[in-house]
Each structure stands twice: as C-alpha cells, then as structure tokens.
C-alpha cells in the first residue's frame, strides 16, 4: 500500500506527549554560564559610553561583552545592516548593546542592571509615512534615505485603461504588525566540542545560521556547527538570528558552555514582525466584470533593519492585483526604514497584506457591478498560459479557477442561506469568499536549491535507508514527510527510513523551512537522492548518493518596470467564511470556514489538514484579535495579556479543509507547498462576510469591535444621507 497521502504518525509524537521532547531551554544546565542581553529600550539614540565596571565587579560575573568584542559586527539575512551588539547607535527598542555572561541567571540579571549605558536620544522616524518626509530623521545615515526599496511594476497603459472603465473604485487599506508568538521563546546553548563551536537552538535554516555566525566570529564555517533542538514553532519568526549570535559570541569569548533563555517580552521585543502596510489602490473594470486596471501604492514599515524586507515587498508587489490576469498595472511597493521593531518574514510573506487590499477590492467591484463576487473572480482569475504583471508566463499548473469553484460549491452547501442570515436583530450572519495566490519557494533570482544524501543499507535487497538533509522541523512535520517520500520511492516500510537533519555538520543544506517550500524542495531532493542511491546500488557501486535539486530558475525584477520571472511555483487557495457580527457591540465571530487548497499531492493528508487548520488560527488572530501596538517606537503589547492570540474558543467549530490534488509538474509525487496559503485570502474573506452581514466595509486590520462598530455607524450615516437626498430630490411639494 502506498505511503503517500496516509496519516502516519510523527516519529517524535511520543516524546511530545510525554514531556520527553527537548526544546532549547530544556538543554540548559546549571553549570553553564548564563547570558543576559541588555536591550536599548529606546527607539533611537547615540551610545555615548558603556560603563560595565560595577557589573564586572559583581561576584559571579565572567564577562560583559560589547561591540568591541565582536570580530565582524554585521549580520542580516540579505543585507548585513544589523550589529550583534550596537557600537555607536541604537535604532529600535530591541537593539542589544551589551551581553552579560555570569555564573547563574540571577547574577546575570543583577549585573545587567549595573551596566551603565549613556545615551543621547535622537529624533525618531516613528512610522513609514513620516519616515518618507524630506526632513525625517535618517535611520541609517550613510544611506542618505530611509527608503529601503522602491519596486515598480508597469504594464500596459494605466491611465487610458482607467479612462475606458465603466467602474473605478479607490480605497486605502492598512494592516498592523503581527507577532509570531511561537510558544517557545528564543533560547539555546553553545559549547565547544573539540575545536568545533556548537550552537544548539531553534531556527529555520541550519546552514544560513551557520553562514552568519561564522562570518560574525570570522571563523571558517567548518569550525562551527549549528544544531536544532525541538523547535517550538517558528512561522517565519526564527528566520532572522536572535539569540544564536549572542550565544556563539559568549562561548567563543569565554571558551565555556553558555546558555540564554529569553522571556516572552524579550522575545517579542527582540525579534522581527510581519510588516504593517499602508495601501492605496484603485481598481477599474468593465461592465461585464472584467477588471482591466489596478494601480497600487504600498508603503510598508520595515523597521530599523533590512531583514527580508526587500523580498517581502517584491512579493507584495507582484500580488498587488491578487491572483488576477491584469492587462494594465501600475504598482509602487515601497519599504521604509523606521525606528520601529524590524519587519521581516511571517507566514505569507507579504501576500496576506497585498490580498487584504486586492481581495477586498474585487469584491467591491463585483458589488458595484451587481455581479456575484464568485463570477467576477472566475472571470479574472489566472489561467494556464497567462502572463503575470512582470511579463513572464505563469509556471504551469494554474488551478485558481478549479479551486475557487470547489470553494464556492462547498460554501454554498454549508453556509446559512441568505434569507436566514439576518433573522436575528443584532446577531447578523454574513458570508464572504476570497481567492489567493502565494509563491512556493524563493523568488526573484535568490539562489534556490535543496541538497540531500541518501545512504542505503542493502544486501540482496534494500533493507534500510538513512536520509541526511538539514531541513528544520518546526512542528509542521517535514521530517515525517521526507521519510514518507523516501520510503515510498524505495518501497520500504516507514520504520526503515531514518533521517539525520538537525546538525549542520551531519546533514547537507536543504534551505530554509519557509516559503512553503520544504515538501516541494526538500521532498524533491530526497526523492531524487533516493533514486540515485538505488541506481548506484543496482550498478554495484556504494549505495549512497547526494543530490542537489534546483527548480526552474527565477530572475530579479527590473526595479523600474518589474520585468522578470519572479517564481517557479505558486499555490492557489480560496476560502469561504461565515461570520456572525453582533451589530450592537461589533464583536465578530467566525462560525464556518471552507479552506480549499491545491496542494498538488498530499503526502500526508492529516498533516496537510493540520497545516490548514493551524494556519487558520493565525489567520483568525490576524483578522480579528491580534492588535500589535507601538507608540513612539516603544512596543505596548509585549505580553500575551495584551497581544491576544486566538484561543480554541475563538476558532469556528466548522472548519472544512478541502484538499485538491492537481499535480505540480516538478514537485515530488506532484506535491506543491501549502503551509502559508490559508493566511492569504482569509482576512478579506472575513471583511466581505462582515459587509454581507452589516453593509459596512472595514479597511483596517485587525478588525476590532470598535472598528467594526465605527464602520457600521459610518455606513448607516451614508445610507441615511443618501436616502435623505433621494427623498429631497424626488419629493414634490405637499
């Protein structure tokens, strides 16, 4: 029986239900030195001096490290613009200025309070719009501007197209930061194993952590090993370094084992977030529902450091018109440095923000033309052979319409009929639908590869296989998926396939656990390596093979026109939601979700459903409850008491994950990625449902009760005003 699609259990399941699974903080031993990072806790300041004398004098303090102790004090995923320990200037509240290393956590904490840092506060660039003003303080002075990227996409003749439209609608949308809130706060240990500096933490990409840490310490990569303990969630939040560099530095300096455990506030202040967007957009359509022109100006708050901002904004740029064929496009996607917490990767990577505007707009176009929103979508959705706004032909396997149709069917079958939705005076039901597109894998010419080694234990037949691939299992279950693929390929029992994956020195580079890419990329690498190893065995050669899989190439986008080939694979999604809006209070609950995804092929159906349901929990938070607040660069929601994650009671009882399997031409067994897709169309589907329930559109995320109430009040006032003017126009003198 085939292993593909079967809900076999994870091999670490037993450890997870018995408490035996070891996460980074569980590795800490009392004999290790303990590190405490000193955060700036001010958004922008010059460092005038650091006096650590009193701290160092404290018994038990081993070292107080500062910028001078860092061999190469620059790092970053794409643009190395961040310092491990700040030398001259701090640019956001989470910047680290010193690291106390002490015999125990209490001493480290006490010593941290004794380190005196003299600052001169500087004016701040408090948000993206003000940071664009000509006289705005510069976050990185040598750059001469706060603009980190201004990506344009130009296609067709936008002005003429709008002039020829039957309906043109404009609106401004905003989104806020989103905090990953992985339940395991950043932590880890570092130690020497012989000559090798080992850093054992949780992350999303062993070999990228390795590259950055080796560079920071000016060491050969062979002198450093990164190991991952069990990873307590990631969601993009562990893509950038947080504690890893601090640990490596401390052990490299002291030559002793060190540990660091961040508390929740340190984690929230100390790592990047999803970008807040300000989106002004105009959509134009013909009477028949064909959308012909979209102009968008997006300004995103990139925070103090580059992180992955430029990639996120390019993704947002190519999805500015959603998953729709569009002859005329003018997109400006701008990301700006500010003195806020850095923005970077978070599940969806710019696509949820872009869809918040695009999917809201296409529904409004449908309403303006009095056409069913499903029909308008179907008319405009990408088809195989269509060209993107960037000028390339879409990668093969475009399934957007099939996905939407399935979603419409399932939604229609399950949702409350229109006539019954407004039966209750204050609890109004509404339904909404939205489509989505998101790339699988790296984009824009970023080197994309995944490497795996498969070693066979064979005599007369293949008995066992050992897979080596440095792919991070952040909870999504990728290790199981990879074992399933190899077992299937070699016709082995699952138990006969072992995986070595959590050590950069033991396993080759799979690339990151991000961009919904591991099932596709790492899956393909282990699949191909398994086949190659079997061929070698069949030829009588040593039964082992290392294969690097490279997908079809992508290219950078032209900065002025956007021309290029952004991606090699897309995932398509559509969602229907039914909400209940308490129009008296604005409190809104999602009652039903139909979430349809073309996953190419579900390697493990249970895990795919788990990814859909789990991603939806983050989507519910993004749409409704997660209200990340910053004032003057200072984070007001650094705890779960004020940053509200959805509980089980906030999730609908009726979640219908629908898995479609329209095979991708390149993915292993036809699989394509899917783990981010449920976040992409969700918020606009909820907004459409709220509109259906109340007649009011909300343009700002999250849709808190007071925003919904305000929108309802404004919509009523508009209705009353237009009714009044209608009466005024038509009434004859009595």
């Amino acid at each position: 029986m085939s292993l593909i699609g079967r809900p076999v259990a994870r091999h670490d399941a037993r450890a997870k239900v018995t408490g035996a699974a070891r996460y980074p903080a569980d590795l800490v031993r009392s004999e290790m030195l303990h590190c405490k990072a000193i955060f700036a806790h001010r958004p922008h300041a010059r460092i005038d001096g650091i006096d650590a004398a009193r701290a160092i004098a404290l018994p038990g303090v081993v070292a107080v490290l500062t910028a001078a102790d860092v061999p190469y004090n620059r790092y970053g995923l794409i643009d190395a613009d961040q310092e491990v320990l700040c030398s001259e200037r701090v640019r956001y509240v989470g910047d680290r200025v010193a690291l106390v290393v002490a015999a125990d956590p209490q001493t480290a904490e006490r010593a941290a309070k004794l380190v005196e840092v003299a600052y001169t506060d500087l004016p701040i660039a408090g948000d993206a719009l003000s940071a664009l003003e000509p006289d705005a303080p510069l976050v990185h002075e040598h750059r001469g501007t706060n603009v980190l990227l201004h990506q344009k996409i130009r296609k067709g003749d936008i002005e003429q197209a709008f002039a020829d439209c039957d309906v043109v609608l404009s609106a401004t949308f905003t989104t806020s930061w989103q905090e990953h809130a992985y339940l395991q706060p950043d932590a880890g240990i570092a130690y020497y194993e012989g000559e090798t500096l080992v850093v054992e933490t949780a992350g999303q990409w062993l070999h990228e952590d390795l590259r950055q840490i080796a560079a920071i310490l000016a060491l050969e990569e062979s002198a450093v090993a990164i190991r991952y303990a069990k990873i307590g969630g990631a969601f993009g939040g562990r893509e950038d370094l947080s504690v890893q560099a601090l640990l490596a530095l401390a052990t490299w300096k002291t030559k002793r084992p060190t540990a660091i455990v961040w508390n929740r506030e340190e984690s929230i202040v100390g790592h990047h977030k999803r970008h807040p967007f300000h989106i002004e957009t105009t959509w134009g359509a013909k009477r028949d529902g064909t959308v012909v022109a979209v102009r968008t100006r997006t300004i995103a708050d990139g925070g103090a450091y580059a992180s992955t901002s430029v990639e996120v904004l390019k993704c947002a740029a190519i999805f500015a018109q959603g998953p729709y064929r569009m002859p005329n496009v003018a997109t400006d996607a701008i990301v700006v440095y500010t003195n806020n917490v850095p923005s970077g990767a978070f599940r969806g990577f710019g696509s949820p923000q872009a869809h918040w505007a695009a999917e809201s707009m296409i529904t409004r176009i449908a309403h303006a033309l009095e056409i069913d929103p499903v029909d308008v979508r179907r008319k405009n959705l990408y088809r195989d052979g269509d060209t993107e706004a960037t000028g390339n032909v879409l990668p093969a396997g475009v399934s957007a319409i099939a996905v939407l149709d399935r979603c419409a069917q399932e939604s229609h079958r399950r949702f409350t009929p229109r006539a019954e939705r407004h039966a209750h005076a204050s609890l109004r039901r509404g339904v909404g639908i939205a489509s989505g597109i998101k790339n699988v894998g790296y984009s824009f010419g970023f080197p994309e590869q995944s490497t795996a080694t498969v070693e066979l234990i064979a005599s007369a037949r293949i008995e066992r296989a050992v897979v080596r691939i440095g792919a991070a299992d952040v909870g999504q279950g990728v290790h199981l998926i990879l074992r399933q693929i190899v077992a299937e390929t070699l016709e082995l029992a699952l138990e006969s396939v072992a995986i070595v994956s959590d050590d950069s020195a033991q396993a080759p580079n799979a690339g990151s656990a991000s961009a919904s890419r591991l099932t596709f990329m790492a899956g393909r690498a282990v699949h191909d390596a398994a086949l190659a190893a079997r061929s070698a065995w069949e030829r009588g050669e040593p039964p082992e093979a290392t294969v690097q899989y490279r997908p079809p190439a992508t290219t950078p986008l032209d900065l002025e026109t956007g021309a290029g080939t952004p991606n090699y694979c897309y995932g398509y999604a559509a969602q229907g939601v039914e909400v209940e809006v308490d129009v008296t209070t604005g409190v809104t609950r999602v009652l039903k979700i139909v979430s349809v995804h073309d996953v190419g092929r579900a390697i493990n159906r249970q895990q795919v459903e788990g990814q859909i349901e789990g991603c939806l929990a983050q989507a519910v938070g993004y749409a409704l409850t997660e209200n990340f607040k910053v004032r003057d660069g200072k984070i007001l929601t650094p705890h779960f008491s004020t940053y509200l994650l959805p509980t089980t009671l906030d999730m609908p009882t009726e979640i219908v994950p629908v898995i479609m399997e329209l095979a991708d031409p390149h993915g292993p067994y036809g699989a394509r990625g899917m783990a981010e897709m449920p976040l992409v169309p969700f918020a606009p589907a909820v907004a459409a449902a709220i509109y259906d329930a109340t007649g009011a559109w909300v343009n700002d995320l999250p849709m808190t009760p007071e925003r919904i109430l305000a929108a309802i009040t404004a919509a009523r006032e508009r209705t009353t005003a237009s009714a009044a003017s209608l009466v005024g126009a038509s009434s004859s003198p009595a």
Binding site: V17, L183, E613, G614, Q618, T648
Partner: protein, 204 residues
C-alpha cells in the same frame, strides 16, 4: 509550632508603604500599641529571603529542596528537579503551557510559588504515564495528532485531564470554553478538542 515574636523594633525599622495586596489590603501601619496587642498571636517562623527547606511531592515522590521563597513551582520543577516537560511560554499565566495538577486541580505553575504547594500532590506530564503505558489522554493526543510543535502539549494534556475530572465539559462548546486557558499557536485546536472529547466518550 513556634510562637513568633512580633517585635516592636522590627515594626519600627520597617518602612511604611501604603499598598494593596492580592487578597488583602494593608494600610499604613498604625499605632504601635496595636502591634503590641497582637503580639500574643502565634505565627510560624519567617523564612527567606534566602534558601529555605521546601518539600515538593511531585509525581508521587517527595523531593527535599533548598530554594528561595520567590522560586515559582515552574522554575523549581524545571531547574531544580530537571522536570523540563512543564513548559514556560509566557511566565505570566497567559498561555497555559505550564499547567500542572496540584491535588488534582489544574493551575499555572508560573503563578504559583513552590513554597505554597508544599505537601500537596503535584502531577506533571512526566508523571502521567504508567511506565510505558500512556495515560489515555496522552494516547488520544497521539492518535488525533493533537499538536504540531508540541511545546504547549504537556500543558494541554494536563489541562484536559483535569477538565475531565472536573466533569464540566459535557459537549464540544464546553470543552472549548474550558480549554481556552491553553494557547496553541500552531493552531492544532480541532485535533486537541477531538482528542479530549474522545477520552470523555463524547461522539464527535
């Protein structure tokens, strides 16, 4: 039991600070005469702020520790008893990852001082299975894939065990209400609820 001395000297040297406590308000100290009048009541000797002997009965075993009164049950379990199955997610009672049972009732170990639960029966995730035999709730989480990253799982399982003992979760809605003190950021909620309901014998 010792008869504590409430001495006038100590009363006088301590700074007065009008405050409000959790549970009880304490105003500024008033007349010394009142303190003297009350000096005849019996009190146990004060301990701390340094380490004091604390006996914790965890998973059926008594552990003699010397810890400061400020040590939470969560830190005592993790750092002194090496029982790291109980997780620290927020350290503020807002996520439920540290849920343990104290005399059969679920509490947040992060909001509980270890010294306060002396001589009470504490159950952690490590004490739930009977040797190799998983507790039915553990088995159900496994069967229903009631987790992804697994970090919240020990707290979820202990919360669910207590929930069933409380006999208040009669249907899906009440299971969800009573499990809402355990955040799962991976969002494995549907499978968690299914696991709990299966052990409760509720048809899903």
């Amino acid at each position: 039991m010792d008869v504590g001395k409430v001495t006038r000297r100590r009363f006088l040297v301590r700074a007065a600070l009008p405050t409000i406590a959790a549970g009880v308000g304490i105003g500024s100290p008033r007349l010394c005469a009142l303190a003297q009048a009350a000096a005849s009541v019996s009190v146990l000797p004060a301990s701390g702020p340094g380490p004091m002997p604390v006996t914790l009965n965890v998973n059926g075993r008594a552990h003699e520790l010397r810890i400061e009164p400020r040590v939470t049950l969560l830190d005592a379990l993790r750092e002194r008893l090496a029982l790291t199955g109980t997780k620290k997610g927020c350290d503020q009672g807002t996520c439920g990852a540290c849920t343990v049972l104290v005399d059969g009732r679920r509490v947040n170990a992060c909001l509980t001082l270890a010294v306060m639960v002396q001589r009470k029966a504490i159950t952690t995730i490590e004490g739930l299975a009977d040797g190799d035999q998983l507790h039915p709730m553990q088995a159900a989480f496994l069967a229903h894939d009631g987790f992804q990253c697994g970090y919240c799982t020990p707290g979820q399982i202990l919360s669910a065990v207590a929930l069933l003992a409380e006999k208040r979760a009669t249907d899906e809605a009440s299971v969800r209400e009573w499990m809402s003190g355990n955040i799962c950021r991976c969002g494995a909620y549907p499978n968690i609820v299914a696991a709990v309901r299966s052990v409760a014998g509720q048809p899903s």
